[in-house]
Assembly symmetry: D4
């Protein structure tokens, strides 16, 4: 897929170092590890230095153990498991002692190298206390991916002074993750105060006409503030990943 790699491979082929069949075979064998029930994508990890990520929900414990075992053998990067129940944590612990569990964030980490620390930071804000598990999923994901993360929790718009009193924290963030359930207004208010990208995460916190997070989701998609984009309901991981990508793109650069 990578242009340079394809050109290199074709050069080898031309110099008779590899056969035509081998070119095709190589293209097939290279980028992933084959487990039958899973095809582990080493491609991105190699190129980006990012950890391997396992979305644990819906996978059997057997499959998760198999995937982790494979990863442990193949390379020396960190392993991040999201939406991990306690059972998943214990299943992985049977394979390696080197595993930590963040219960409210439902994250398991097999840490094999130190996380990097970005100069600029990502700020995670929440509307309420009940949004913290999703926020922590975002925050820990961003930390594992090499970012400095700051947290500002329970600053929902019903008590606006709590948010406004912390505008200095808002202003010094490079990327902001806004996590809120119910009416999800936090994303718009934060988006209107800062001039940095805001990744909005609707949560399923609430009841009745929040319809499992739909109210916050629609609210954030319809934000009248510019510079706000949205990930799936309760998708802390996705927000942490996106924020990390943006933060690290601009990390070496002088403040703007």
């Amino acid at each position: 897929m990578d242009k340079k790699q394809v050109l290199a491979l074709l050069d080898k082929f031309k110099n008779d170092e590899v056969s035509a069949e081998a070119v095709l075979e190589n293209l097939k064998k290279l980028p992933y590890g084959e487990l039958g029930y899973a095809k582990i994508d080493h491609h991105r990890a190699i190129r980006t230095g990012y950890p391997e990520v396992i979305y644990c929900e819906g996978k059997s414990l057997d499959h998760i153990q198999g995937i982790v075992s494979h990863m442990l053998e193949e390379k020396n990067t960190n392993i991040l498991g999201t939406r991990a129940s306690k059972e998943v944590y214990q299943a992985i612990k049977e394979i390696t002692e080197n595993v930590e569990y963040h219960e409210s964030a439902r994250i398991v980490i097999v840490k094999r190298e130190e996380y990097k620390k970005s100069k600029k930071n990502i700020l995670v804000v929440t509307g309420g206390t009940a949004d913290i598990p999703v926020a922590e999923e975002a925050a820990i994901t961003a930390e594992v991916l090499g970012n400095t993360v700051e947290r500002l929790y329970d600053v929902g718009v019903a008590g606006l002074h709590r948010l406004i009193s912390n505008t200095d924290i808002l202003f010094k963030a490079n990327v902001i993750i806004a996590v809120a359930g119910m009416e999800g207004a936090l994303a718009s208010v934060v988006g209107g105060l800062v001039d940095k990208p805001v990744i909005a995460v609707p949560t399923s916190v609430g009841y009745g006409a929040n319809f499992g997070g739909l109210s916050a989701l629609l609210s954030m998609l319809n934000s009248c503030a510019s510079g706000v984009s949205v990930v799936n309901i309760d998708n802390g991981f996705g927000a942490g990943y996106m924020a990390s990508m943006i933060n690290q793109m601009s990390d070496g650069k002088d403040d703007n």
Copy 2:
């Protein structure tokens, strides 16, 4: 329906002033005017001094003319027509010259007595300029119903300073009508700033995932601020009516 009236009628009946059949007939004839296609409810108007209201949408011009004619004959109160197209306005004008039309609010008024002026005021705020038609429906309704109304338009949460700079206007209102489309966050933010009732009106302003006002509606129903209740999408009339009811209940009272 009114206990005293029933008791009075029964007393007359007992004194042979009216027959049993007449009691039943009276109970039937009193409260509304019969037009066949419409039964005009004079009941509330008599009791409250409120104007007669016609919801014009979906009624034929013939029917509207008939209803207005009947009202003009029966009593001397003001007449308010909502969701009135220009055609409705012209149809009414054929019957009475004494009619004014508020085009953007889609309201017609046959004004036959001066509006009262409450001491305390109702404040109508909007998120944006495009919400003004709905806001005007609310504001004019409240004015016709005898309230002093103040307007504060285009103070949506994406530019929070526009709202906060006007906190004095917010604080001196007795009831607030918050009109907003898109993510509808205005209701929550206003609700968190004041300690007066907020009537939230979601509007259909927006596009895409606002689904005809659903986003603002759900947002407002899920408001994390207390003291917020909601009317139907684009229902300026309902908000104006509700706000008026609350405002006038407390109008004679000293400020709290």
Copy 3:
């Protein structure tokens, strides 16, 4: 946020009684208690004499205990916990013996001062017996907030005589909270009978095409009666709070 407070603070600053930095710091420190996972808003309570309210759902027991402890130390107002499970009640009991639990309403109260008693009353009506838990959340909330509350339960529109026989109770209420599931028609019928504000609470009582309360919610939002506004599905607290706000605004005033 409060104009007078800001002016006062600025005066002190001008007289060199506080520094510029202190002004900013003061603005930040005043209005809430910082717990990291929660920012407790004392602002409204101070100004209004209202109790502190904790929405318990989705908060960990640890967090709830921390919040209650903080509140107990800071001020002497009552504390109201909504959507509280039995576990929440027991967790709070570990901190203070002075706590009562309303199981069906899922409310915990730490009562440290007597409730006020409004002269005018709030009436809570329900369509059926199964709506009582939501109605009790509304009623108890209103009582804790200082209102005299009357209850009229199981007067749904399928047996209209049950409602009409109680019109005197309807007529003497100052504000009405109408709680109903299924088709939620109660709000419209009550709204058509009285000339006081009706706060409608759709409940999730029902099955099939009630879609978790959606049928009652849409029904109430589309009420053809004026003077009806709506809160979230099952949101007894919100209705009690809104009704209290309206009731107390007009409490000192002569009947209209």
Copy 4:
């Protein structure tokens, strides 16, 4: 399909009056007229004396003309066209002068025999004036099908006295069709007052959160009154047909 007809045909076949192939052919040819683009079902009309019905929406004028022509030739029953635009009316008029058009009900009738008149009557009630077109579709359908129909319009629940004053009309009906938009509460209230079947017709009258009639539909499906069943939104024809079927089943019987 009819057991007796099959037996009769089989008898003929056994007596060599018809061949096996003819039996099959007969079974195929009998029950409908073949036009290629339409297969006109004479089956029910023959058996029940009911008129032929054409649902005009979505059919081309050519097709409608073809269907009517075929019907005119085949039998001498009345022809009813529903959801007929003015263009449809004119297209049919080109074929036969003997056609009348009910504009608001969007019904065309080719009347070739007098309607019957049931002894018991069907009552059509509406919540408002704007529901009248759907109500008329129901009423005219029932009349064409041979029923005595009474109308009681604009008796929505927001002015309950208008409905209660007419309880005698409600009580003497044999079947009731309740037509209402917005919150559709009329069906429940009527269903609670009478002990006859109520056919509820939700209409799309309203705006915003009525979502094209969804609010009234859900409301009626969730009716807490027993003896209420529901047809599609705006389906006046379906309600008229169903009510007619029920009314005529019991028409000869003494009052119960």
Copy 5:
């Protein structure tokens, strides 16, 4: 509410047999039993001879026991409890031994008089075996209400010959209850075969895009067959009640 009763009462009042206050009190006291948490409607039962019905879901066991106790004291009619769990059954058994439980239909019956038996019968058909619990709720309800009921189960449209082989059973029914989940096509097919009213009951049987019964509900509401009306998803009781009402209206009459 009943014209004759009101006239009678008024006559007594005129003859000084009762006071005006007593008239009002009488009007209030007559029609229901007051339990505080429930207002038991004896009105319909008295007039129609129908049993008292308790919708058990969402009611506490205490409340149900209270309601049943009240009913046992007041009158001698049968008592029907729907949506009754085993716990409800046992709670009622503590009060009276004379109670039977239909587990799959979730119905409890306190039988104090023999059921009547209509001459004409109601037919309950289902699409599949999994629809039987809802069908039984309908069938038993209809039986308790005095109808002869026939059952024809598992005749869904995917194996049409199973339905067509039983057309004689379909033809001899006076009213048909069609119970089906998934695509709910049974109602249309049955409606097209017979000329008697069909009460369609969508069930929540199915998965995925049946969305809790929505697919069958919409399918039945959009039936292209005339003479079909619909009750709520899984509402066997409502269908049984409606069918009974229709069946008994025409029961004494000769077949048509």
Copy 6:
């Protein structure tokens, strides 16, 4: 239903070998086995050699045992039970030892004859590991129905090289079943790569705005690739059956 059978039966009737009544009775008795709660359709199985299929969800264990017993007695074909819990498996085991259980696919099989093996194969692909249970339901169904099945799991579009590396497997399949949750893009991508029919199965794998599989369902229905059709969410059986039907239609034919 089958023309030839009807003609044959009619011939016998004509030759006095059977009576008219017997013809009707025969038509009724032939095609299914009657159990009261179930009508077992032997019709298709006889004609097609396909196994009998039981959809177990929602059926009581008693009913399932009865159905299996009946099938075991009647014919010697294989029996397939879908959506079968462990309890279902054990209930069947009480009747016959000859039963195997595929737990993740929730399938039970009573195998009484060897499966056929088609020359051409059906390929089952999944987007992720969590989609495997649905994929296995499809794969095992297709195998029981006599097809050669190949599996290619975890080739979702987020790591496109995993799919593209396996294009040879895609190209040699005769029919493809594409199983995916979340955004369900796999169906479109596969559909764009091959020129064989793709049966798309949306799964409920995911969370938040996947709304129980709705996102994948809508995605697949809106596929911009031609040659894709869709079955219900999580309906592995339906996809396996449809794919088998297509595969076997073309199995004897030379490759195109």
Copy 7:
């Protein structure tokens, strides 16, 4: 993408007939025609002999003209334009006189070679007359793609005898396209009668609770008949394409 082509190209590269860069360039240039606003995919057409297809909706007339012009120059296959308005037809006519327009099906065809004629046929059935435009889109698409197509229109399930009388036509079809709006039951009924694949096309024909075709869509997705799969609402083209693919796969084969 095609393994053989890649191998061939690589061989040329190895023999120095093409450079590495040229390999990449070739891979890019081959499969589509570049117009800037459109990339015309010749790939499938070359391989399959299928015509080029243009989905016209939402494309500007300029763009459509550009695309057709390009196609006319490049190859000599037929060109099929779907969802084509009269304006589109006229715009194409400016470019080539050789264009025919099927108005109700909204299809334009530039016919440059004779259609093939399959031995086996595809049957298109509709529930009603109003479904014919979608059915014609399917039928004409299938004809252009080289299939023999039979039509059987207006055989909806409300008049089941119309369908059953034509079972011979159903039985001799190789693939069936079932087109229906409203409750969409046709697909299930047909699917239960035949043992050939049924492609179900929900249409938006209907009103009210059909919600733009949602009722038929859900109905068809939940079909209790096996061997039914579904395409998008009103997607006649997609059904014709899918049916053609299946039909031609088995066309040379002896009947099974």
Copy 8:
């Protein structure tokens, strides 16, 4: 709001250069221009050098003219109007000749200074030709905001080779905007190929079960690719703004 500005103002106040009232007044007057119907936010424009933006939909022509006039007087930045009809364009032209109109993108620009040109570029890709108007809204927005923009249109996943052939263009982009309707799979596929942030824009292109863009929206929110976030349906402006923000944050930095 800006800490430094507040501190500066407070310093002036302390030095008696401004009064306390003036401080409050200043805080109010500074950040926006007051037009009554609109409050123009100069705040962000001043700080960021970004142009003023007017969302034209739903605003009256009078209001738009007023807003533009105000902007023209106040500052010398560019003015961008989105969702602008031809009427809007003409209304603005009456005020200033210096205005250009992008019809398909519905954008008007009053250009008063040259756009900047970023070193890194933003790539806008579309699934089809019909998505181009939304894509152009995004592209032009990004250009006006100072970015170098590249376009790659009509590379939807149904013809995957069109996308893969352009991987070099994908790889050299700094931020990617993926615009797609129908199943919206483009975002996932692109997100899986690159390691730069992808802003996904669902469009309302499609019909039937795309439900106005819902299918693409849900698809994109559920993307299994990391590094994808989503804006509202058809919100080209929002995507262009967000992409610009990210692109310019990293623009001065060396490639990573």
